[in-house]
Subunit: 349 residues, 2 copies
């Protein structure tokens, strides 16, 4: 099969690899219908994270079940499925608490499963999924092909944006600031609207992203940064800062911006993987009674409810994909995202 | 009038001071019926915080309204009142959000009001209260003298313990660990029980405090510290850590203990004023999806609901007072708390 392999900085290749097979009884093999490139894939692409040896890459995909192990009970060959960006057993304490992203059997596609067996990356033709019952979510038939981008968005970015909004305590009538205009930040805008926020301020300087933010429900756009941004937010919200702030970047600067955007007693939800220097200044948080909540999204917990809204047409998270390419052009997909020519690229094997 | 003045390390004196009078239209002067010594009063007492000049001290009191300014509308002379440990105007954005501890007109007893006028400390015969309408809570007549310790506990420790429990997300059927066996930690145990927690693990090595913790609703006591404590908590909770952890100390060690006691996806509520070295390790919090929430309690927001439960007999937070002394023996009150001979000392002018 064809699979995307990263060899090093800006060195993405499409290569022939052996097709995965069921190894454990709980495995499923899925034929990928659509995959995509994540902002976090750009870290090794840009060399921010070193690639020590060539390895398969990609962790977001949807597809059709091709084969299942004998221990799989909830899936059948031919099922159309959405995969969260990590595996989860569905039975451990974390899974029972709806926190599948800290599952005892968490594994990343493109890495190894918890038995040490390699897992294909999602940017390829087939993927082996461990703990398939606890991981995959079936899309009911008949599958509307036009919804493929939105199904795929649930795999990571929409679930992650939703997690940020939940962590930030977004609810009916809350005011929200979203720091970060990438696919996750934009999904956070959509999640905030879905959860009933009345004022949603997207921080962005990028015209296309501003437009999509507005389409997703942003009521206001703030282009300013730093102190000026805080001033602007107060101005927009009648003299106060936001009830809820979504931080969807992970840098020191974005975290500072997020903390400076939340009102005393408010909540900050962060899903940007903390990069070097991101900090939580305890004295500031204590003095202003700010709640900080976040981490890797338990996408598996959220997909069923978000899927309902995709199927009903209530949300259209697939709008984050503004470029579609065949899998064979995956290198161009990375380049387009790296150069910010595309918000997010959908790949078709 | 008599008032407690701190002169320096271990130098607490009772002195004659001018009786306070109404200065601003919103002021009330309260004749103190009972006051007490707070764990945080021990910081200057022990010299951890330097006392640059002698000043009045104490911030927890209940009493009877002695006079009111012409702008006061909800209080009358003779009303029995509970004062939160800070003043609040009741009208600013923070107050409207129920976060009176970040009020625009926040002032500390023993310090200055927001006009720069000195406020008496609570450990004295009379206190001037700014923004009295927004600050004081009236206890309905007739006042049951036996409930005085519990009314007084609402001024700070019970409200603070409750804030920690709220911040930690304690609710029906949650499991809770309480780090800290001072009056606030013990109040946190009581607050957790009141909010419906089913398992409450108090960390304490002190027999009397363990006994009070059990009386307040602790189902288990853990004497271990560090890794051993984590092991013990898992053992007690069937292999997992706690849903909610209350941190009521504020040191580096207690914060580490608290973080190590909460399950992935759980919540940590902290009310211990962060002392040098207390940290929030963002990567650990992110990896385990731990929510961290806390700060100075908005006691004014909580007193009405807690007061109802005191009046009905549902809770008896005044049990934290295990020593009562006349105001004239305030120096002995500090010594008893400093030497851990008393959990908390009630003072009667």
């Amino acid at each position: 099969m064809l699979a995307t392999i990263i060899h090093g900085e800006r060195d993405i290749r499409i290569e022939e690899r052996p097709e995965p097979v069921v190894i454990d009884a709980g495995d499923a093999v899925v034929r990928v219908v659509a995959a995509c490139v994540c902002g976090s894939d750009l870290w090794p692409y840009r060399g921010v994270r070193e690639t020590h040896a060539p390895h398969p890459i990609g962790h977001e995909f949807i597809g059709v079940v091709d084969s299942v192990g004998e221990g799989v009970s909830t899936l059948s060959v031919g099922d159309f499925v959405i995969s969260p960006f990590t595996s989860s057993d569905g039975t451990c304490s974390s899974c029972q608490h709806g926190m599948q992203s800290t599952c005892d059997h968490l594994a990343f596609f493109g890495g190894n499963d918890t038995n040490g067996q390699p897992l294909p990356g999602a940017q390829g033709e087939f993927v082996r999924v461990p703990y398939a019952d606890g991981t995959l979510v079936v899309v009911p038939s008949p599958v509307d092909e036009r919804l493929i981008p939105s199904f795929l968005a649930l795999s990571d970015v929409m679930s992650t944006g939703h997690h940020a909004a939940v962590c930030a305590g977004v609810g009916p009538d809350t005011t929200v600031v979203v720091v970060g205009d990438g696919a996750v930040g934009l999904s956070g805008v959509l999640a905030a609207r879905r959860l009933g926020a009345t004022r949603i301020i997207a921080m962005s300087r990028h015209p296309q992203r501003q437009a999509l933010a507005r389409e997703f429900g942003a009521t206001d756009i703030v282009e300013e940064r730093g102190r000026e941004a805080g001033k602007k937010i107060r101005e927009l919200l009648g003299g106060v800062l936001a009830d809820s702030v979504i931080e969807a970047v992970g840098t020191k600067e974005s975290m500072e911006q997020a903390i400076a955007s939340v009102r005393p007693g408010g909540r900050l939800g962060y899903v940007g993987v903390p990069a070097g220097g991101a900090q939580l200044p305890i004295q500031v948080l204590f003095d202003r009674n700010i709640t900080v909540s976040g981490g890797m999204a338990p996408a598996r917990a959220y997909i069923p409810e978000l899927l309902e809204d995709v199927l009903s047409g209530a949300i259209d998270p697939g709008r984050v994909f503004d470029l579609e390419l065949p899998l064979s052009e995956v290198a161009e997909a990375y380049a387009a995202m790296d150069e910010r020519r595309a918000i997010k690229v959908l790949l078709r094997p």
